[in-house]
Assembly symmetry: C2
Homo-oligomer: 156 residues x 2
Amino acid sequence: MRDNNDMPGHLARRFQQIAVAIFHAEVEAAGYDLTPVQYAALAALQQNPGIDQATLAGLIAYDRTTITGVIDRLVQKRLLVRMASARDRRANVLEMTDYGHATLEGVVPAVEAAQKVMLRGLTAEETTQFLELFRKAISAVNDLSRAPLKTAARDA
Amino acid sequence: MRDNNDMPGHLARRFQQIAVAIFHAEVEAAGYDLTPVQYAALAALQQNPGIDQATLAGLIAYDRTTITGVIDRLVQKRLLVRMASARDRRANVLEMTDYGHATLEGVVPAVEAAQKVMLRGLTAEETTQFLELFRKAISAVNDLSRAPLKTAARDA
């Protein structure tokens, strides 16, 4: 049996674990309190204003049942609000607050810095190659995830 | 701002998420009930028999405080036992049971199959390249993790 630490599954867990630690370090150093998933939710909302919770879950490839907790914390932090949909009274749409927009804008440099730290071991050419292969590998197995990534579907 | 879904941090979360789903699907289909971390712990123990919990945590890059829960579940499943160390009575060393060895041996084909599924989108050449870049990227940031990977230190 080969070394377990060389398996793709181990490398995936390892890289994700370090990526999260780096994200927190950079974001906290910049004076913000935001997890990677909270950041992803805000960024997706800014690009797709007025979507509902289920649509947001698909956009950031997050489980429909666990996205509720993420939204709850963003609401508690006053970064977004749930509002009744104009089209469907039973549905809530998500709207970022002004504070949410300001926070997202303010935190972006730290998030970008974190991305650079994550790949500091690779040259520019290797980084391009690595990210290309990463995307290719992921897109071939997207349907095997319990929370597949979906494109924006604002009428869903 | 570039698309958040293209960032290394997002790709890391996404790949890890799918890798775990694939691991569970393959392992369950083979009739086993084992999480990726439980598997990693068993595999590391087989290669390093008689180590203690803190050493095991380092070997699989797992947090010292959360490794206890992993060990508890493996003990509940009768895959391993905690035994008093011959050298130090206050310390417990971990020993796999016969059932643990048989389970590990039995589950390996499913784990190997899962690794192949994870990278099914890449050619053989791309796989080699991807894993090489993955290892290189990780080794450059290992020290930034809250639970750095350590080599075996049986006397720790």
